[in-house]
Point group: C2
Chain length 693, copies 2
């Protein structure tokens, strides 16, 4: 808590001043008698919301006073450390609900030492920090501020324009100088002022503290809510969250598939479509914006708000999604040197890109890291924060390209690796997208080679009662990305695949599951309609993909001069569903304590939400991206070497000393003794023999 | 020249430094050896253009070296005060025309004491000051700057976006930090960079020195020209000028009638139209913008440029024109308290108001002074500069409302006065707008009462040979504003009208021109088709109009505590065409030395051009408007008194001691001797009798 001990900003504290401690941040300072609690909070950088500017009508600035005997409802106390419950508070409490013990920090004044608690409940006052569904705390400091002001009526003696008088009032009450004004407001300001009887709520967009601010919207009367959306535009799926900018609460979340899929399944085929079709870029931009508009309708409906209530929005996506969303031709991203049109953060108006929200709504796009490492990777970095940690963290988002970030507070490096679409189920004979009917979990008996599996949309495993009945309805149509990882890993663990990735044809004699399909063998996962097989080609595709991923990771480890990582975060849908254990078995990622390998979910979407709710996070990721060293795998001579070495199961390049602690490894081909080594002990011994590369 | 003696900005001059004097500004300073002349000029605030940033390719920074023996074309001199004609200059002179003695100030370096002349010719180098057709000098310092930069090609090792690299290059070469970027450029930047082979000219909009600047346009290669338009939107006429932002030269001027006339002849009828018709505001906004678009086409055609070459535009107009142009409902301006929606300067994009120029073009609107004293009055103030003078200047722009500014460097006051449309020829039986066929000049023989007149579009006077022939073609259809002033004044000078404004029926016996029209008499100006008469009602209308104007002026004189003014400027079309003498005779304006009463032409349009060519003039008028004290005539009790007193010819309120020096005044009614006083001497005696009020 030592670093939270700060003196107040402007006032030089005297020892006679009173000590005030704000919880949960722990920030503290000394303030003279009669300082309003709100002012003290602001001087310490403790964010307490206030829409009405201390008039005691919005109720947004409520706090709990935890210490100090104080007076309320007329009961005075001689040793009160806070001012008596005053006029504004009485009026507010009469009209609205003010919980026992709660004070309006704009009205309550410091009279002695105090501990002030910023309430965390979402009902009225989750203004400051908000624990998310994933337990994440996002401190609020949005780029949008609501400012209630009261104007005098126009006066012939002072013929200043109504807008000019409004701006002077905002400056006087809220300190915003030289405000810009959105052009559309020029024609509306007079009517709004008169509708509100000269009381209005101004919406100010200030990208960063002290930067030029803009009046972007104006409401008659007191407007006590503002909303924002955070959105991750994936090539396959688009996910959107609707949040209150005042409480931080997530009101609604929704997702949809990216309609650009009809122009091309993977990223490169979409770039090709643009290159082949004169209107291709335009068509894809239109498609994604339409999908976004549909999603916005959906979250607004769920959240029971109007589109015009949305005042801010943050979007992330990989570079090609990023460019197509903004209406930028992604052709340059289709070939070396993979030049982004823009890599820095983008600040625009929603009205400029056919996304009707509030007419003054702003859009912020998190910066891209490099031509193949996009705003989504940057957002995931913001979420997981390798740059905030001492431990060396590897962050991997697997898609057609794997986006890889490796670093800590000292140094962060990033690269992308051309994994191809195999991990997403494409180019795999039995592969399909993650959807009902797709196999997502698989176990293979190492003796009988019989599989059991679990299907999306069907609760029981395939060998459990009730499965068949549901399978008739849902269907079992293919294997999704995470399922493919498991089946290849299980085939390896069962000894069906050798460490060189060959399906062992010798086993065909032992099991009807191993089928001769000409020059090579396949594994029969499921008979019937459709028949699902894993072919030698499928195994090779996964080998290539995982070798590419691993080679990229290894290259970054080389740059950092390290041979192991402390933590691994697996981001994205793929990362969420694969079992980290199997990622280690296949050698997708380097050796790591399994307890420190975790799926980080839609880290990109969470990062977007962080940037939405706190502009300091925008600055943080902008500065971080500038500091990240970008490694272009194609230019690194070692990449090919790492790639070749990483083809085996697990990697020859970098065996996993800790892997054997987790799973039972299959017999080593070099051991020739193929029946040996099923029990953990043997595997552990083998692991012990290997040296770090 | 003493006040022009300034030390250079950054370098602390040593006595060993060389003295450099820039002409014609006279600014001087001392600079060390090898300082480029361009740098010296910039340090002294001498504006020398440079598009290419000192690469010696744009040729915009040419200067004449007037002193100092110097070397050129290989001829060296031992006592040269300026560096030899160098590589960049040789290359430029080979490709383009470089006059003998001219140097590129980016290349030429100071070696000794120098006198540098900034060339004034428009061919290449009228960069600094530009004498206008009206002799006005506008120093150039536009809000738009062209910045040529050369980039490196993208490099996989540095995966910064192309736009980001461009911004870094502009910052490095031109010093613009944290540039904003117009959104439309995001999708174009890559193509433009590649078309220009990584050499481009960036267009930067910087409203004021040091304020946040924006990249608003980008051209491949070197772009050596930029244009702007300055426009005065009058209720009757719209006037537009096209100027080069780099040379200051006016390339084309054009005008058209305001199509809003079909919704209402005068301002108040247009406000009424808006109040009566739900789509009225929209229709009038559309009409004026269409007219502006037509004018833009016209000046572009004349100037032989494309619309997209226009990067900046300044508009002025009275408050109602101002609001309708911006799409603001002017209803509030139709009644007390005459609240403007916005009075301050307006900065918007042309794309926001359906005025297609360059997609990044900016629009600047000069501030309005008050609800009835608009941006046109402010622009006229900027042009005539009462706030820059010690003398007390009266600036009058007569329209449906007279906009009146009175002041000097110490204090400036402003008001509007409801003159009504009489001065514009409306509400006058024989009145018409100034157009071919309108009588504009009139003389009445004081003995015979016979008129002679001159008609717009007809060269000879009505009593000269050739008039009748041309009159048959052109027609003689009415009397325009300036003609009405003259005929009323001449009727008064001829004794047809008494000082109370009564057409003297006694004279009907002397002349068939004086006609009994019932209870009152009329003066027959022209018989035939159409028959043009000046009725008693017409005289009353002019009396009311001039009394309103004069009362407004008098009120401002009261505020200033003065009983005479040093200078009078009559602005606008009306002011351009009336003879100041007749304005004095009728008592439109207060007593003033006739030599100091002048028509200032379209001072509003000139002010717009000043603001277009020099952003410092924008700041100047913004600060001046803030300082101007606004007087609301309707709230001043003395107004009515001044008004009543000003009804007579000349004014009883404030007789004109100097008037009799100029014209022969008619017999005073109080003198009863009606035949007396035709000769100047008598009038002078009479004038001498009067005392100042």
């Amino acid at each position: 808590m030592a670093d939270a001990l700060r003196g107040p900003g402007e006032h030089k504290p005297a020892m006679t001043d009173h000590l005030v401690l704000f919880m949960p941040s722990g920030k503290r300072g000394r303030f003279p008698t009669d300082t309003p609690v709100l002012d003290a909070a602001r001087q310490l950088g403790v964010h307490v919301e206030s829409v009405c500017g201390g008039r005691g009508i919005c109720g947004r600035c409520q706090v709990d006073v935890q210490e100090g005997v104080f007076a309320k409802h007329g009961i005075t106390s001689s040793n009160a450390h806070i001012s008596p419950f005053g006029g504004n508070e009485v009026r507010y409490a009469e009209k609205r609900d003010l919980k026992e013990g709660r004070r309006l920090s704009c009205s309550a004044k410091i009279l002695g030492d105090l501990v002030i608690d910023i309430p965390q409940d979402a009902v009225v006052n989750a203004q400051v920090v908000r624990k998310d569904s994933d337990g994440r705390v996002i401190e609020r400091n949005p780029a949008i501020q609501l400012c209630y002001v009261e104007l005098e009526e126009p006066d012939m003696h002072k013929p200043l324009g109504d807008l000019d008088r409004l701006l002077l009032e905002i400056e006087a009450d809220w300190g915003y100088k030289s405000l810009q004004v959105d052009t559309y407001l020029l024609g509306q300001v007079q009517k709004i002022l008169r509708t509100g009887d000269w009381k209005v709520t101004a919406v100010i967009h200030e990208p960063f503290q002290g930067e030029p601010a803009t009046l972007v919207a104006l409401y008659p009367g007191l407007k006590n809510e503002a909303y924002g959306i955070a959105c991750d535009i994936g090539s396959t799926t688009i996910a959107m969250h609707l949040s209150s900018l005042l409480s931080g609460r997530t009101l609604a979340s929704s997702g949809t598939s990216n309609p650009q899929i009809r122009f091309g399944e993977d990223l490169m085929s979409r770039v090709s479509y643009v290159m082949m079709n004169p209107d291709g870029r335009e068509a894809m931009t239109k498609a994604v914006r339409e999908a976004l508009n549909g999603l916005i309708d959906k979250v607004c409906q769920q959240g029971e708000i109007e589109r015009t209530d949305i005042l801010d929005a943050v979007f992330v996506g990989n570079p090609i999604m990023h460019h197509l969303f903004l209406g930028i031709d992604p052709t340059e991203l289709g070939g070396a040197p993979f030049a982004l049109a823009v890599s820095g953060a983008v600040n625009i108006k929603s009205s400029e890109i056919d996304l009707p929200l509030n007419p003054g709504a702003r859009i912020y796009m998190i910066p891209c890291i490099a031509g193949h490492v996009g705003a989504d990777a940057a957002a995931a970095t913001l979420t997981e924060g390798p740059h905030r940690q001492d431990e060396m963290m590897l962050l991997v988002d697997v898609g057609t390209n794997a986006e890889i970030v490796l670093g800590n507070a000292t140094r962060t490096v990033a690269a992308s690796s051309p994994t191809g679409p195999a991990f997403e189920g494409a180019e795999i004979s039995c592969g399909q997208r993650a959807a009902p009917g797709a196999i997502e979990r698989i176990r293979i008996d190492p003796v009988t080679f019989e599989p059991r599996y679990r299907v999306i949309g069907i609760e029981p495993w395939s060998d459990e009662p009730g499965f068949e009945e549901q399978a008739q309805k849902v269907g079992v149509n293919g294997v999704c990305g995470s399922g493919i990882i498991e089946i290849i890993a299980e085939m390896y663990l069962a000894g069906i695949i050798t460490e060189d990735g060959v399906i062992n044809g010798d086993l065909a004699a032992q099991s009807p599951r191993i089928i001769n399909t000409g020059r090579t063998f396949s594994y029969l996962l499921k008979d019937g309609e459709p028949r699902l097989m894993v072919s030698q080609t499928d195994v090779r595709a996964i080998q290539l993909a995982k070798a590419a991923l691993y080679a990229g990771v290894k290259l970054l480890m080389d740059k950092q001069g390290i041979d192991h990582v402390d933590r691994i975060g697996l981001a994205g849908a793929f990362g969420s569903f694969i079992d980290p254990k199997y990622a280690l078995v296949l050698g997708l990622v380097p050796d790591c304590d399994l307890a420190h390998v975790k799926a980080v979910g839609n880290a990109a979407g969470t990062g977007a939400r962080m940037a939405l709710l706190n502009r300091d996070h925008r600055r943080e990721i902008e500065l971080t991206v500038k500091r990240i060293e970008k490694i272009e795998t194609a230019l690194e001579s070692k990449f090919q070497e790492h790639f070749v070495n990483a083809m085996a199961f697990p990697n020859k390049a970098d065996p996993f000393p800790r892997l054997a602690e987790v799973v039972t490894l299959p017999p080593r081909s070099m051991d020739t003794d193929k029946a040996d080594g099923i029990e953990p002990g043997a595997a552990r011994r083998r692991g012990g023999r290997r040296n770090r590369s």
